[in-house]
């Protein structure tokens, strides 16, 4: 008996039979609203315990919830970014169960009418292959408070004697995003989560700080013979609080299941928690009673219906969303996966690039400037490309000047530096200051002759076969011409004229 498992989609084998992992991910994402989901308490991380609480989020007798408009819209905008359907009618339901950090002992959630249904998250793996994961649904609910367990090692629940509860987080709006079991490896899981994160950050619906708990993931993991359409018995892995732990936990769980099967054991459907310290998954003690949540429509709240005009506006705005944009950049502009991600991951950069390309019509040249000189200047000056005086219009002019051969790369670089600092139209600067590249052979020859006359030693070396000297001589021509000479033509004329002057 032997098993092997690997992080990628690479060979997972049980008894020599190829197996594949089948993974679905359920994410809870805290929304970055000003206030909580159903009351006006502030939604901020890191406040003093129990300071952002009121009758509503403490579940006081008589208090009533009123939904936060921004949170509701956030779910719809997120759904539209992934092409989800937004049902005409939705409502809030109560999920009933007792837990000490849940003030009302029911959670206001959405049961059978989520705000967003379906949709697809597309992303690219580092090797450039595209993957798509279908979404089941995205819905809105309220977060619970936070418990600290006391009297046990490392504040663990197991062995604790009592707990301390902080309700600042209770009632924070929480987006639950559920995927279909379309993920096949830990690497895909991480890429999927990164795609979600990019989108949520771009939409401004969440800052997705895993270290602050604003993204929490559970994964359903099973394995099956590759190509099978049946699903194996799944386990639910909880408590993963970084992308790294998601990757490790899934790798570990897939390997554990493969080993169990190889030993002839059955997989037991259960909930397992990821133990970051031990780098292993452990069976979780669950509540003793059955999961009978008794969902029913919350009678304190009324249904939600979205106006067609709002949906159209949000759908249009979703064009700027990374997922949508990545597909456009990679398929339309033929940009590499890595470069497309670079554009999309820097705030404002993809907007800037797309605006410049729309004017220049030259994706590759534009991209080279954006990721090259402009990004370098942005780093150096601390001014974002999108916020610099170098407008997309100005960049498009530079792209145009260089592709026409009107200026060379050095001039282009100098020009970018000038416009970055001072603004203005590159085309006009070139015209006004006579910076246009000299491509007239007669004019080039004048510079070349001056260099040959001045650099006798180098010229002699070149004649004696020292080929590398030509670069130096071209540089001298560029210097003499103050960068205006076309370097390609300069080299050609240097070679010709050095040979011609041999006999003199």
């Amino acid at each position: 008996m032997s098993t092997t498992s690997a992080p990628g989609r690479a060979a997972l084998q049980v008894d020599g039979v190829a197996y594949e992992a089948v993974i679905g991910i359920e994410c809870h994402v805290e929304l970055t609203t000003e206030t909580k989901m159903f009351c006006g308490c502030r939604n901020v991380f890191g406040s003093e315990p129990n300071t952002n609480v009121c009758p509503v989020c403490l579940g006081y007798p008589g208090a009533l919830p009123v939904p936060n408009r921004v949170a509701v819209e956030a779910i719809v905008r997120a759904g539209l970014a992934f092409g989800a359907e937004i049902p005409a009618f939705s409502k809030f339901d109560r999920k009933n169960y007792f837990y000490p950090d849940m003030p009302k002992n029911y959670q206001i959630s959405q049961y059978d009418t989520p705000f967003a249904v379906g949709g697809v998250v597309s992303f690219w793996l580092p090797d450039g292959t595209q993957r798509s994961v279908r979404l089941t649904r995205i819905h809105l609910e309220e977060d619970t408070g936070k418990s600290m367990h006391a009297g046990s090692a490392d504040g663990r629940l197991g062995g604790s004697t009592h707990s301390l509860v902080d309700f600042n987080r209770a009632g924070v709006p929480l987006m639950e995003c559920v995927s279909e079991p379309d993920i096949r490896s830990s690497a895909e899981a991480v890429a999927y989560l990164e795609a979600l994160k990019r989108t949520f950050v771009a939409l401004g619906v969440s800052d997705v700080k895993m270290e602050e708990g604003s993204l929490r993931c559970d994964a359903n993991v099973s394995i099956r013979p590759a190509g099978s359409s049946e699903l194996g018995t799944k386990t639910e892995i909880k408590n993963m609080n970084s992308f790294r732990s998601v990757q490790r936990a899934i790798e570990h769980e897939v390997a554990r299941q493969a080993e169990a099967l190889a030993r002839g054991q059955r997989i037991v459907q259960e909930t397992r928690g990821w133990d970051e310290g031990e780098q292993t998954t452990i069976v979780q003690r669950s509540k003793e009673e059955a999961h009978d949540y008794r969902y029913f429509p919350d009678p304190d709240l009324v249904p939600i219906e979205f106006a067609a005009a709002d949906l159209a506006r949000w759908r249009e705005a979703s064009r700027a969303i990374p997922q949508v944009r990545l597909e456009r950049l990679i398929s339309r502009d033929k940009i590499s996966v890595v470069q497309a991600h670079q554009l999309v991951d820097t705030p404002g950069l993809a907007d800037y690039y797309e605006a410049a390309v729309a004017l220049s019509g030259a994706p590759q040249a534009t991209l080279n400037f954006v990721l090259g000189e402009l990004s370098r200047l942005a780093n150096e000056t601390g001014v974002a490309v999108a916020g610099a005086q170098m407008t997309p219009q100005a960049l498009a002019e530079i792209v145009d000047l260089t592709t026409r051969g009107a200026i060379g790369s050095k001039t282009a670089k100098d020009l970018i530096g000038r416009v970055w600092a001072e603004g203005g139209s590159p085309a006009k600067i070139v015209e006004r200051d006579g910076l246009a590249q000299v491509s007239d052979p007669a004019a080039i020859d004048a510079f070349v002759r001056d260099v040959i006359a001045a650099q006798t030693e180098s010229v002699e070396n070149f004649r004696n076969g020292k080929e590398s000297v030509i670069k130096f001589l071209v540089g001298q021509v560029m210097k003499t011409s103050r960068g205006k000479a076309d370097p390609r033509l300069a080299e050609e004329r240097l070679r010709t004229l050095i040979l011609e002057t041999r006999g003199e």
Binding site: T35, L58, V70, H162, S286, K287, R294, V302
Partner: protein, 98 residues
Amino acid sequence: MPTGEIDVPYVAKLARLALSPTEIQRFGAQLGALLEHVEALQKLPIEDVAATAQVIPSVNVLRDDVAQPSLPREVVLEAAPQRQGSYFRVPQILGEPG
């Protein structure tokens, strides 16, 4: 409509009510009598009827995302059966939430 005995201990567990054996018996009989009365609903023709969750039709009642004052911490902790420092103290928790 399903008939038969109510599993009172199961329902009491869901509702988190400790019941004595005599209470289980008494409530079981009383709930049985009520269910018998409720059985009458069987006679209503409800196949094509929409369920009423809210009797007054209304949609989209939402609030703007604007902060309101919270309660002073001392007020909420004073009301707590048990506190420890700035926290609510609760007895030992045996399992993760479901």
